[in-house]
């Protein structure tokens, strides 16, 4: 078999060190097929003339079933979903239902959406939608299969303030106001065809939700129409879901794509940056956008200020909003690049355009010229084999009706017979016409662009010239080599094989220069695919090489490789889930403490809390367990043995693993929240019991409040893992303790306790000394005034001597007064206790020395006369 021969040769290529059979995804991909939209065979008229006409139940269902089959696996998902056993469903449906969870439809308490008659996943959605024909369910399911996230169909919005489903910003809405309209679903379907692959690989995005119709977004200004959450949600309101004159345009496209681009930005940030922030706010994007951050600490307000600014002019942004920050710049420019290609290309600086073109858009342009050139290269790819077959057929049998105008002799650089030219003319016209039909049908922008007659004729001219050049090449080459047609047949068969470039790309994964590695590998492959001895005509060789390279561009293949590996991981979901559950249980069993500092790892909980024993256990082992799961993956008895493929699968599996861990965390958090609420409600009673019943926790007179608070917290149940105890319970304990410490009961108890009475006497003692000290200073200053600098020098020492004269007697009087004030029967000895306040007494004396018997009344400090 020729294919095997290629692989033998490929193994020698510098950047494809592994033998091909090691690539498990390659083997898996061999059995996959691309989706081809419905059409009537070439002879008859097409079933639809524009892609937009294919949003029908039949076609959407066909497409969904196609992807469902592609993602099928022997490793079924275990467990149940309501009445359905997941392992009896296609893996894709089981995954969809798991992603939806049990929160769907009308979530109002007491309302049940009866789906017991449903046997498949789309039926669940259709039941909620009360769909007439089932299109909503299949469109939602298809979106999930292609894009990896759920178009929400429930009446609750992520992070809405009101706990009640169906109530948003204080207003009640019917369920239907939360559901996407048929037109909106059409737009999503259209976007699934319009967006490049990277939008289909957003691993962290879980759900796109609709804010109820006519409502603005909670907590935001009225002009905000969408929000992207790192927790995996996008919410959109009417403003982000508007249509233009037709359903094929309107802000719904830019708005939704903008929010999805934020998700890409988050994801690439995690991938690219050591610091795991956004892709766009540092590195190449920030550079081409001229972005810099002004950052300082405002000393007056004690606040940190961080503001972005760009060196670009206003006119260089797609719209003013893009100027907000590099993050918005990226999201906005990406959205407008796709749907408003012409203006975007004209407005934004070339480096920004070029960067977006290669990083997001696989080197494709979306202005009319760029779209036309996309149609051309798609047609060439699609019809090149048929062009070749036409030449082969016309050379065998050139019979054609005489009415057909033959291609002129001058078209060929060598002699071609009249019947053959007539035959070729007929085939050429047929192919060109068909290319126009296909461009409209295959491409979501086909009908819009080719609505202009001038563009159609331009397109036809170009295609005709390309096809004719190919025909000439084929005829020439066939005349040079008899084996030509056979060999070229093989080439064309390989041209459409996605497996070849995928294998090359997987072999280059993680290389320092992936692009160079891939291009070298492709070049080596082409040397073998297009042997020089068979195809001698140099132009033909160049054409074939270009054709292959265009069909397998680095950027495109790179994204496709990621998508294929993600799809493969999708089929391995059961393995990942099992491992996640096992690790969760293991870490749950680790003795609960919060002693250690949380360590870095793949898991982060945002503003969430987890006891560090559990958090550190998870973070230590997630990477190891993910690696082990990847090691256990297989297809058709082939395991993951190739290092580079293993690394790629690991890199893609890790976020999936973390996402599942987070799901378990969310569930556990919700369960614990209920317990926390209950404990909070019971806490006052609990504190009352434990703290009031026995005041023995009150031992240190100077830290009663904090001792009371920590005693209160100590008496709470000890097993909160996902709530920071001090944050949750301290406010309640603080209030309770403040009240308790001022209560009569506590005062009575204190008066019986030696330690508190002692403290009380000492406090009285010190304050009496302060009063007496003040009186004495006043007397001494009267005797020895310090009114100017000369008096200071003269009277300073005399004043101090006067002040300290018979000090012992002063203390004795103060002690007597303190005892009287405390009014206690307990034995209190001055000689044993004075040590505890001696430093305070010294302070009083020092203050007099330093400040009263020292400087003059004008405040001139003698120690520093200048």
């Amino acid at each position: 078999m020729l294919k095997n021969k290629f692989w033998f040769l490929l193994a020698l290529a510098a950047c494809a060190p592994q033998t091909p059979d090691k690539i498990v995804t390659g083997k898996w991909l061999e059995g996959r097929a691309q989706f081809v939209p419905s059409r009537i065979p070439a002879a008859g008229p097409p079933a639809a003339s524009c892609r937009s006409e294919l949003f029908t139940l039949e076609e959407v269902k066909r497409e969904a079933l196609h992807y469902e089959a592609q993602l099928e696996s022997e490793q079924k998902i275990n467990g149940t979903w309501k009445h359905l056993r997941l392992n009896q469903l296609p893996v894709a449906q089981a995954k969809f239902l798991k992603a939806v969870g049990t929160k769907f439809g009308d979530l109002t308490e007491g309302v049940v959406t009866d789906v017991s008659a449903c046997e498949d996943a789309p039926c669940i959605v259709n039941t909620v939608y009360r769909s007439v024909d089932g299109l909503e369910g299949w469109a939602t399911y298809l979106w999930y299969l292609k894009m990896g996230n759920v178009l929400s169909f429930k009446n609750k919005v992520f992070e809405q303030a009101d706990a009640r489903p169906g109530v948003y910003k204080g207003v009640s809405y019917p369920l239907t106001d939360y559901l996407f309209s048929r037109n909106e679903l059409y737009a999503f379907w259209r976007m699934s065809h319009a967006l490049p692959t990277v939008f289909k690989t957003i691993a962290d995005l879980k759900e796109i939700q609709r804010v109820p119709r006519k409502s603005s977004i909670e907590g935001r200004e009225g002009n905000t129409c969408g929000l992207a959450y790192s927790q995996g949600f996008i919410i959109l309101n009417d403003g982000c879901l508007t249509f233009g004159l037709t359903n094929d345009n309107g802000f719904i496209y830019e708005g939704t794509t903008h929010e999805m681009a934020h998700q890409i930005d988050f994801q690439w940030g995690k991938r690219d940056n050591v610091n795991s922030f956004y892709y766009s706010d540092n590195g190449p994007w920030a550079e081409v956008g001229g972005w810099s951050m002004r950052e300082y600490w405002d000393e007056a307000t004690r606040k940190t200020i961080r503001e972005w600014s760009s060196t670009l002019t206003d006119a260089q942004f797609v719209r003013s909003y893009a100027r907000t920050s590099p993050v918005e710049h990226f999201a906005d420019t990406a959205a407008y690049y796709r749907y408003d290609g012409e203006n975007t290309k004209r407005k934004i600086p070339a480096p920004v355009y070029t960067l977006l073109k290669s990083s997001v858009f696989e080197q494709l342009d979306y202005d009319p010229v760029g779209l036309m050139s996309q149609f051309e290269s798609e047609s060439v790819k699609m019809f090149t084999n048929e062009v070749f077959q036409s030449v082969a057929n016309c050379s065998k049998d050139a019979t054609t009706p005489n009415t057909v105008v033959p291609l002129p002799e001058a078209s060929f650089p060598f002699a071609v017979s009249l019947p053959e030219r007539r035959c070729l003319a007929s085939k050429l016209k047929g192919l060109v016409d068909q290319a126009v039909v296909e461009a409209k049908l295959q491409h979501v922008d086909g009908c819009r662009i080719l609505r202009v007659p001038q563009r159609v004729s331009e397109f036809k001219q170009k295609i005709e010239a390309t096809f004719l050049a190919q025909m000439i090449g084929h005829i020439r080459a066939a005349r040079e080599s008899e084996d030509y047609f056979n060999r070229l047949n093989e080439f064309y068969r390989n041209l459409d094989q996605k497996v070849l470039p995928l294998r090359l790309m997987a072999g280059c994964y993680g290389e320092l220069n992936e692009r160079e590695c891939y291009q070298d590998a492709v070049s080596d492959l082409l040397d073998e695919l297009i042997p020089a001895d068979v195809i001698q005509a140099e132009t033909m060789q160049t054409d074939l090489r270009r054709m292959f390279l265009e069909a397998n561009r680095f950027e495109t293949v790179k994204m496709e490789t990621i998508k294929v590996h993600q799809d493969f991981l999708f089929t391995q979901s059961a393995l990942i889930s099992d491992s996640v559950h096992e690790l969760w249980q293991t870490c749950l069993a680790v003795p609960l403490t919060d002693h250690d500092s949380p360590v870095a790892g793949p898991l982060s909980l945002g503003a969430g809390w987890m006891a560090s024993s559990q958090y550190n256990c998870l973070n230590r082992d997630i990477a190891k367990e993910t690696r082990s799961v990847v090691g256990g993956m297989s297809f058709d008895q082939l395991g993951v043995t190739d290092g580079k493929e293993g690394k790629l699968l690991y890199d893609l599996a890790l976020p999936i693993y973390v996402r599942e861990i987070k799901q378990l965390y969310e569930d556990a958090l919700a369960a614990e929240s209920a317990l926390v609420t209950k404990t909070l409600e019971e806490s006052s009673q609990l504190f009352e019991q434990k703290l009031k019943g026995d005041f023995s926790w009150a031992r240190r007179p100077n830290s009663l409040q904090s001792d009371c608070e920590s005693e209160a917290l100590k008496n709470l149940p000890n097993d909160f893992r996902y709530h920071k105890r001090s944050e949750v319970f301290t406010p309640r304990a603080r209030l309770f303790c403040q009240q308790l410490l001022q209560s009569a009961e506590f005062a009575t108890w204190m008066s019986t306790q030696q330690v508190f009475v002692e403290q009380q006497v000492l406090n009285h003692f010190v304050s009496r000394i302060q009063v007496k000290s003040d009186e004495r200073v006043a007397e001494c200053l009267e005797k020895y005034p310090i009114g100017n600098i000369f008096q200071s020098v003269w009277n300073k020492k005399k004043c101090r001597r006067c002040y300290l004269d018979e000090w012992e007697q002063l203390e004795t009087v103060a002690w007597g007064e303190a005892l009287t004030a405390a009014n206690t029967q307990l034995p209190i000895e001055r000689s044993t206790l004075r040590g505890r306040v001696s430093y305070r007494i010294e302070q009083i004396q020092e203050d007099v020395h330093e400040n009263k018997c020292k400087s003059n009344s004008l405040g001139i400090r003698l120690g520093n006369p200048f």
Binding site: A228, S230, N275, S292, E295, T324, P598, G608
Partner: protein, 141 residues
Amino acid sequence: MFSKYAFVLLALAGACADSNAPIRYGETTKAALVADKGQPSSAEKPLENSPTEILVYPDNQKYQVTNDVVVAGFREPSSDEKSLLYWRHRFKDCPTTFEALSKRDNHLHPEKELKCARDGVSVIYDPNTDQVTRVVEHAQK
């Protein structure tokens, strides 16, 4: 627009490696800072007509100097420090506040600042990326 002047100074590569005395925000002088950290790679004026300047060091480390005194410092978090949990754990006994920074934009969530004023430390946390992006140190309160 803020005026920004950047000048390249003779970088004393080796000189910035060692940190001798810890910086006491509100006390350490600019001269002491430069003696300790070496010359900055550039300097910025965040505000017009203000005595405040920002000295920029490698690894996006910045010091804010007002009237010749270092009043604040900004640095990237180390690996453990990137998770907010690390800081909430570290600030266990410090009364903290959580404030939204000046509104960043409309579609995303504004950055937040978790402050432990007692220790003069705060961290900037980005709810969109779930990461602590900056550690800010300043004079204690």
